[in-house]
Subunit: 411 residues, 2 copies
């Protein structure tokens, strides 16, 4: 495999024009879009307009005249096609942790008499923290399911299970659940299925309607490129829109927020998942960022994502294996998300040395170097060049140099 | 009282230079800063730098190199002197509704065996909605206290009361509680005192430490001018910092968020009130906006606020009373916040006609026109000119014209 082969893949890539929709720093190969997506074009102009025109000149009237009030629905409508979600089922507002909290309580409330939440030890930690917090609040028991150890989820399901809450793609190892199969298993047991799509939305062809999922949550700032700390999204299945019962009953979830009625009356649609005032600036950034997905087929995105991780894995086998580098990701496409971890001694120094070469990935304890493949702006030649840098780091032992091994006090 | 008197007040105003810290639209008299504060200078530059440099060029490394991770503490430190709060007691993150939810649950948890929440019918509605939601979640009873009907709060306090949750300043009528007296009463009954400072922070000399308040929450986008949907702030008394126990246990409240530990371990400081990833863009806007308060004495702010509402009330008595306009605000300074409502028939049309004249206030059902006095950017001549416009509207019956009386479908 030589660089010309990667160039040929770029030539044939139907998504290659999408790279122009991003403002990428010169000379950087950015393999950390699974952590913070890069700046999409159009965001700077949008946020400038929001601040210097809408806020400055039109002040409070902008809630109506500039569509601030409708932002959760506007952004939701852009997200729905990326998630395989029907119109009117997605909204945005709080952080992922807060949104997950609200969905978990709502799920448990819909299954009175059932006292178990099923989740995974491989969760992104905040998911486990929030599940533990909700279990304590509501007096539920957490039942841990480890898919690598017990592949069939039926083994942990019974009629005590109120809700199954899982990360669609594992944030470290990139393993992906089969959305349809797991959802069906949860439903067979009479449980609510809640998906965390943080590490799949925008990179994988999620199909919430096709899976028949009940509830979902996901992050705006990873593959969706919505900017640091972007609002999270929430999905509610159409059949649950007028019954879902979340606990943080703030005015933006009210049927008529500006009527300022004395009693809470939830909106009849997905707005009932909202609580406080929309974070307008963050939501507007996400809104503008999502234009990068305009007209983009998620089937093509998924195809390119897998082609990139396939290329990476074959190059790693060819050029990095001799240095003791072991890829930690499922070989079968159906179980692979859009990132790949390499396990190696000195993984921390390896990631640091690569950052010195402007190849950005991240380190995960204890010995993992993680690289995300974002199909909208990465090229196959980026993957090729990244592996060249990796080989050079290992060959020159740059990962063992003191400046790469000493960790900063704050990480 | 003629315009020259107002001009003289402006000349003598020690805060008059602060107006230059804002970008106010030409020709507008903005009496709605209690709803959405105007754009402070410096925000546009800050948000441009955040997007076009920090995010675009430095990407994920900005969490450390550009202080994104420290933003809640950075903003908290700017808020503390405005609130009479000790260092390290204030942080920012979620919406006001979500923050209030977390504080209410934490308060109730700290008083096991007590089953009552005391709050007011005059709350901003979201406060009542959230109190109702928490009461339902935890099996508490809401006890309503109306200060106008029963001035002494002791009448509703007993050893069943877990928490007293009140708005310091009434969002409609501008009535203000005595923070020290009410807090002491709550403490005498063994209850937690939780203040909502949405309509006082930034306009009134709040003194949380002096009052010995336990918990507080407030809005970033009103008198603090933090932009639409700015993050809310949360205050926790120093004595409670290592025990306060909030329910949404997300990773940003963890002692070491980036260690990605398996179990939740709350931070030993006010960070434990955080849940999800900081909304960086919104928090940075608020951070830059708060520079408008740099070096400003809240005692001076309070003095000017009262001088402005005094001026407004005397002008209203002189020039508007003949039209049936009745000011609805306490005459005594100690019970007055920083806004004044006028009650009159046709209040909706009155507010609309004033907006047509570029005097911005807002309407509150059923017959109230509300005007906020923000001491940092308003002049005494603005107050004078606003009343001139009000008199002209009433004299010409502009408030009864069809174009001012028909309401838009969405408000």
């Amino acid at each position: 495999m030589d660089r010309a082969s990667a160039e040929a893949l770029d030539c044939d890539d139907p998504l290659r024009h999408l790279r122009d929709r991003f403002e990428l720093p010169d000379g950087v190969i950015y393999l950390d879009g699974n952590s913070l997506g890069p700046l999409p074009r159009g965001v700077e102009e949008r946020v400038g307009r929001l601040v210097a025109q809408e806020w400055r000149d039109d002040l409070i009237t902008s809630w109506n005249t500039h569509g601030w009030y409708d932002l959760p629905a506007t952004v939701g409508a852009k997200l729905e096609p990326l998630l395989g979600a029907a119109p009117g089922t997605v909204t945005v507002g709080d952080s992922t942790s807060v949104a997950l909290f609200k969905l978990l309580v709502a799920a448990a409330r819909s299954r009175p008499g059932r006292g178990v939440v099923v989740t995974e030890p491989g969760n992104f930690p905040t998911d486990s923290y929030v599940v533990d917090g909700v279990a304590r609040l509501l007096g539920l028991t957490v039942r841990w399911w480890s898919a690598p150890d017990t592949p069939d989820i039926h083994a942990v399901l019974d009629d005590d299970v109120a809700v199954v809450s899982l990360c669609h793609v594992d944030y470290r190892l990139g393993r992906m659940h089969d959305g349809a199969t797991v959802t069906a298993a949860a439903h067979t047991a009479g449980a609510v299925m809640l998906w965390d799509l943080c590490h799949s939305a925008g990179a994988v062809d999620v199909d919430l309607a096709g899976w028949d999922a009940d509830l979902a949550v996901g992050c705006g700032y990873k593959y969706l490129n919505g900017g640091p700390g972007a609002p999270a999204f929430v999905y509610v299945a159409p059949r649950l829109l007028d019954v879902v019962d979340q606990p943080i009953t703030g005015w933006f979830g009210h049927a008529e927020p500006f009527a300022l009625e004395r009693s809470y009356r939830p909106a009849a649609d997905v707005r009932r998942m909202l609580s406080g005032t929309t974070p307008v600036v963050g939501a507007a950034v996400l809104d503008a960022a999502l234009d990068a997905f305009d007209g983009v087929s998620m089937v093509e995105v998924r195809r390119k994502s897998l082609a990139m991780s396939d290329l990476f894995l074959s190059l790693a086998a060819e050029r990095l294996a001799a240095y003791g580098v072991v890829p930690e990701v499922p070989r079968e496409h159906a179980a692979r998300g859009s990132q790949v971890c390499l396990r190696l001694p000195g993984a921390y120094g390896f990631v640091q040395a690569l950052i010195g070469r402007r190849v950005i990935g991240d380190f995960r304890e204890p010995d993992l170097a993680r690289f995300g493949f974002a199909p909208l702006y990465l090229r196959f030649t980026d993957v090729y060049d990244a592996v060249e840098h990796m080989e050079a780091v290992l060959a020159r032992r740059e990962h063992e140099r003191p400046e790469n091994v000493v960790r900063a006090a704050v990480t």
